[in-house]
Symmetry: C2
Subunit: 151 residues, 2 copies
Amino acid sequence: MTRWPLPEPMKRALALAQAAAEAGEVPIGAVVVKDGRVVGEGRNAPRGLHDPTAHAEIAAIRMAATVLGNERLTGCEMFVTLEPCAMCAGAIVHARIARLTYAAPDPKGGAVAHGARVFDHPQALHKPEVVSGIGEAEAAEMLRGFFRERR
Amino acid sequence: MTRWPLPEPMKRALALAQAAAEAGEVPIGAVVVKDGRVVGEGRNAPRGLHDPTAHAEIAAIRMAATVLGNERLTGCEMFVTLEPCAMCAGAIVHARIARLTYAAPDPKGGAVAHGARVFDHPQALHKPEVVSGIGEAEAAEMLRGFFRERR
């Protein structure tokens, strides 16, 4: 496990991931922070909501945009427990998120450091700063546990 | 302009795009069809809704998933007036849309035939059949007109 304290927003994202698991959803959580204040948060919910777009990042972005009354989340940071997929990476671009911190990498479905690498094309009209690995052990263990129980 | 009749769902997508323009949004419309019946539709609305994820395709997918009571839109077709971005292409993957027909290509922001090419990586767990160019002249002229007026 991580040997130094996790940033508070990543702790909250992990708690949201845990809540997703308890609801039978793949455990992923996300938080949007502006000036040290949480303005959006979400957890994975596509099964429960019958909504294939209901990923943690999308929920957190939509909430933050509503709270701030602006479709652009300029100056906002996102903390999420898993490397975003292409859909969520694209949403992060549209939202103009300044910095993305994700916990675990996702070689099978990720689109930041893997596959489509959404931020690495000129078609991405904004490119956030990206940090990874913060809370990786905790997030990965939660995902492993979830899929282990379901096998 | 196209010399043969457009499919009805593309005509509807173009009408939705026109409605977006009239609301001051970039003119893009999308329709989801199952067994010849429209089960979802949407138009671009990020400004009006303060929601960076409120693209036509996302709205149409969310509506179809609600109507069908299923996060997977198996056997559904999507008609959209512009090549989807990375966010929307990713949502099309998650929704398991069987066939995507888009009108105009989008070299600056598209992620199907340009840039991230979301469907062309193993991380895309589903790959729809893709058709392009149906209604291209109509969709492109609407977009040109919209940006011309705003210059």
